[in-house]
Symmetry: D2
Subunit: 422 residues, 4 copies
């Protein structure tokens, strides 16, 4: 019996699906201790946008360690934090005219969400958060209340309160769906919020993922997000965009909502922000909201993650010109092109944007079968969506073309077989 | 205007107290970018038990990176996680006969607490958690409800529910205090819980820090903790020991509660567990409770923190024999000896165990004055307790004797002055 | 200054609208102490269905008192309670094949609702109640959470939880309304409840007024109520029909939902059940649910209201044949006929069933003006609906034709004037 | 099978204990339909302080009905309400210099409590209510959260929130009890409320019964109530005295707290206020708090209960001079004298004040046995306290001496036997 079986909590999950011990990884390839390689279409659940052990990041981090740079600093000022913040301002905020402040907290996405909803409640004096069906925002109690999946919710042990969920775009079920039908859902929200006898309190904020990743790669339309923001403004609610998984270049631009003419009050970032896989989380907060914080009200031991600042500064280098993002768009096109033939099967749907693509196969069993067959064939890929019915393709943005092709071939072949077998 | 003033959230706190930019650090010395050195009596809020840039840890982490070891793996199995778990079992669990399983979650203490209370609620089918006055357990909504300080609680934005707080030992106020008077408080709890008309529901768990760190360095007695555990067993509640700040050798033994004949259901660890300052959190859970988890019910992107496993494995080397812990005891004695004279002032109290020592000066203003004077004199030290009335001494366990002496001299001199000035 | 101004709570409301002191009342006429008569189109907010001081009820109650009959008995058995229960079984339950048990509790509608939702939660083990926009179910905390109007909700002082509100039929706002469009709303509910990632828990019950009285006289369609019941059955939720204001003959049949082929799990009754204006409340509960109660779990000092049983037995006499209900239908037709011409004004809508009729004038100011003018002209009538925009006509079912005509003339004339004045 | 077995809810409780059908009642005697008489030591759970079918009240009510007086008026002004309010002001408020306003709401005690805590929350802007162990305040969700007994609490179906319970005086368990030891409990409350790291929010109000009736006839001391009021003032909380069962003359004065130099913010009254057993509830509210109500925020159909006003006006006649209250004191002395010998048994305790007296027999089984034996011997008496361990003696204040003696003889004999049998 391995130490994992003997001593690791029964809660472990991915390790049950992929029962090997991983040892090394470089860019889009991860290898187990027997030396077997896997093309990685999972990339640490969206953390490793620029590949495992990205050479520039690795080099910078090793240099930092060798120079005895400060590794841990809570929220004290450090040289590497300064560099990261300056670079982030220059590469991300200023080009977009974003006046937002950067807030660092406990270095996980769920902590970013907790801080965001605390602040929204403080700013508005309201309790309720409006979240969306199929959304995923984390596991701690405040964020978990925003997460829609009942598998996670049922583990809370107490009622999850002060959050109501509404349909995401025209998801999850569309009655007579047509493009833009999510707009009617917004009208219903407007009606509800403007009726003083609706029984529904005004929300402090809407929290929404422009692209729901865990929820099954559901992409919100520009029209719907703009409508949502308009509604929020009308009723005095904030807009929190959770770009934790889809941001940092994943969709071909730094934010997944770039180009949508949105003006979010708070943006939650984490996952890929640190580049190398070391944790970090950051909220971008409009100054007029940020000033409602008193110093130290939401703390966290691991706020000042130097290694993440160092590697994250290298992440930002990919955004100094269009090269990388153009490459993402090309690879994205290639992925959609490769998957398109599967849509001839009526139970299959391909969704996504940039290099986050969901292959909805209709059932979790089918997806599991495909994932296991891919694994056997040397591709690491994971399910998402309710019941795991969607295969999520999120390879590193830096995946070489040949590996991308090889991976797509294995995936599409396995999917074809699974569909036929059904 | 620096980038921090311009772009960092107003919530920043420590950086307001220590307005320099830190650059380098080694063992017990941290240096700002002007080259000024500070003897570090804060150690990353208890994270850096074995010093900044601990050479063994640094070496191991660099080697891991250079070999392209996997850095991020969620809850998949990796070679470095295996080594860490084996070493932890051998060095910590087996010598104590602890059958506990290890659960990894989001790599922060608050996440560990959230997972612990979820599980306790699941196991018992009860909602309530009994926590203690002056306790600190984190910032996310579930953990925050367990945290006592109203500064943090008031930022929640919604009512904090399903947690009740009780006096910690004979804290916070003792009516006719005598040694062991916390035992009467336990009798009152027992009376309340065994009276079906008390209006108070039975708790799922008691969550308690054997040593309250943020709360002001309050040390629970063995008698009281045993009494609490006995009460918990009687009423079918779990005992969760939050050893996040006081564990990992800080008190002269791996756990702060070693030698107290306790048998906790869950132990929460984080902070110092990863050694180098990179995040990690882990709960130790009795197998009979752990089996109530279904796979994947409490997830987290940054569960499999390889760098923390690698450095954490080096942490465990310090526990292979008594050398380091003996040194801690010696240094602890030296600290208490140095501070003892201050207790001649009636408003001063020295509390603590091992190398976590609180110097209670009665008021936050006095502590702030001391901290600033220390900083000017080259010692980094921070307040804790309600209103910041306690100066917390938590230097690296590896601090050289001369730096310890020099630091203590600066601290005691500043304290004397502050007391006299009052 | 009158004793009312001097000593009655500022919360008083109707007495501000009608600043006279009432003294006597008989059937549909109420008189103030100066001797001025008012035709009563309010009937004690729907309590006095069979008129003020109904002679048969008055006679029976006086006889009971003179014979020293038991007046107050908690839930002990009395002869008059037996008679009431036998008569209710014979006149109401048996003809409809209803196996329901009768539960008596505190003698107010809000208490009936509290008991109903407690039981639904007990039976299902679920927390949530699904209620409807514009619904009114009472003022105590559990019932208040089901009430939609924010005026009442805002007085709660704590967040109102475990209840979610959904559109009632196609109310409150209809997007492209057509007959039966409330059915799409049910489809959205079905979609939400059957999606395990909707973030919305399954409800213990739906609570709905077949006719929303306070909410503005909104009449649910048979189709929609049947659809709701079907959905409830599918998802294991109970159906609670709150017929507190619209029941007891008001609509031309004992229950307002008679003839709709419904099979409610619980029916809440109060108001008119006691006939003479003395309080009583009763839930009708299916035996398979009722058995989940343990004796004494929901008590109440004033459960056994003998005077209400005595007068209520007389109420039931009106249901021994079709005479009274036929009269109600005739008078109802007369009311709708009289109001119909007002609907030529586009801002006016007439809604209702039987002798509960709402005249929606679009604004609360207009309604208030009409109510005051009616009052001056000798008609007592009150507003309902959000902002008081609906005039509610609920005269005693026993109102003589000439008084009905006289009252309708005054009302329609005042309404015409108010509309013209706008 | 009787109609009760066939059709009454399984929740019925008293009728299971006393399986007869009651028919008539006069003063302190209630008779079943077979003609058997019972001396009534229960008096409708404290409602019928002046006896069943009190002749003056009966006469007044019949006269009101015969004159076609208004019976039901919501919160409109009526002549009988005016008379009641004037008399109440003259007999109760003015002699005590109480500036309080009278608020009428749904006519049950639970509704009075709901209104009181709503207002306290409104006035203070706080959520929490501090209630006391063994307290009873009603069955609706807000009041139920204040009720301590887990039998009732467990029926709530949802978590009961925003209320914390504390020891009542030195109840329920006293550690080294001495007279006045409840004062230490107040010191602990003070310590908790004045410590900003106690984790316990400041309460909007303390709600307390000066004499806990349902809780087992526990009498709070003047010292403790004064201490509680002092603490409340210090922390800005209101004091709500729930005198629903012990008020209206039961203790030998109108209020049970008369003579204690208290100045409550709100007093809740119901039960005996209406005299004849018809429902009524009323809060007395200090004007400075009352003005926080907006008109109509807490409504209720059965607010204006004319029959209760008419009979209640007769209740107030008993307070025009000392005659009746003197008689209560004499009878009280007789009751305590009769029960005193039972206290020779160590498991027996006699508690109470005026004519509310608890005979604590240690176990519910013993009390049940005594109650059944009394019933067989012609005395109606009921249990209270946790598990029903206390026999509650609350005969009408107007009980004739011979019936009092006869009843006490039966009760004490049955108690002696039950104690010996054990």
């Amino acid at each position: 019996m391995s130490i994992f079986e003997e001593r690791e909590s029964d809660i472990r999950a991915y390790s049950r699906l992929y029962p090997v011990v991983f040892e090394k990884a470089r860019n889009a390839v991860i290898s187990d201790e027997s030396g077997k390689d896997y093309i990685d279409f999972f990339a640490g659940a969206g953390v490793l946008n620029f590949g495992h052990n990205n050479p520039a990041m690795k080099k910078a981090v090793i240099a930092h360690l060798e120079a005895d740079g400060v590794t841990h600093s809570l929220d004290m000022e450090t040289t590497v934090k300064r560099t990261f913040m300056e670079r982030f301002t220059e590469r991300v905020l200023e080009p977009r005219g974003m006046p937002h402040k950067m807030q660092f907290m406990g270095p996980t996405g769920t902590n970013a969400v907790e801080a965001a909803i605390k602040l929204a409640r403080r700013v508005t004096g309201r309790h309720e958060i409006a979240a969306f069906q199929h959304g995923f925002h984390g596991m701690t109690l405040g964020a978990l209340a925003c997460t829609a999946n009942s598998v996670f919710r049922n583990a809370s042990g107490v009622p999850l309160q002060y959050v109501r969920h509404y349909p995401f775009g025209c998801e999850p079920v569309c009655l007579g769906c047509k493009r833009g039908c999510g707009m009617e859902s917004l009208e219903r929200l407007r009606a509800q919020y403007t009726d003083s006898s609706s029984g529904v309190p005004l929300p402090a904020a809407f929290i929404v993922e422009p692209i729901q990743a865990e929820g099954g790669v559901n992409v919100a339309s520009k029209e719907w997000l703009q409508g949502l923001q308009k509604l929020a403004r009308e009723i005095g609610a904030l807009v929190i965009l959770d770009d934790i998984q889809a941001g940092m270049g994943r969709t071909g631009s730094f934010f997944s909502f770039d180009g949508m003419d949105l003006d979010p009050d708070i943006v939650c970032l984490a996952k890929g922000l640190g580049g190398l896989g070391t944790p970090i989380a950051m909220n971008l907060v409009k100054p007029e909201h940020d000033k409602h914080w008193a110093p130290g009200e939401h703390t966290g031991t691991f706020r000042g993650q130097s290694l993440s600042f160092v590697a994250g500064t290298e992440v930002l280098e990919y955004f100094k010109d269009a090269t990388m993002m153009d490459a993402v768009k090309e690879k994205s096109a290639r992925i959609f092109e490769a998957l398109a033939p599967l849509e001839k099967h009526p139970e299959v749907q391909v969704r996504g944007k940039g290099m986050i693509v969901g292959l909805d196969l209709g059932t979790g069993e089918r997806v599991k079968q495909v994932a296991l067959q891919c694994f056997a064939a040397g591709v690491l890929i994971c399910p998402c969506g309710t019941g795991g019915r969607v295969l999520k393709l999120i390879p590193p943005l830096t995946i070489p073309d040949d590996q991308l092709e090889a991976g797509l071939k294995i995936i599409t072949r396995a999917a074809e077989e699974a569909i036929k077998a059904a």
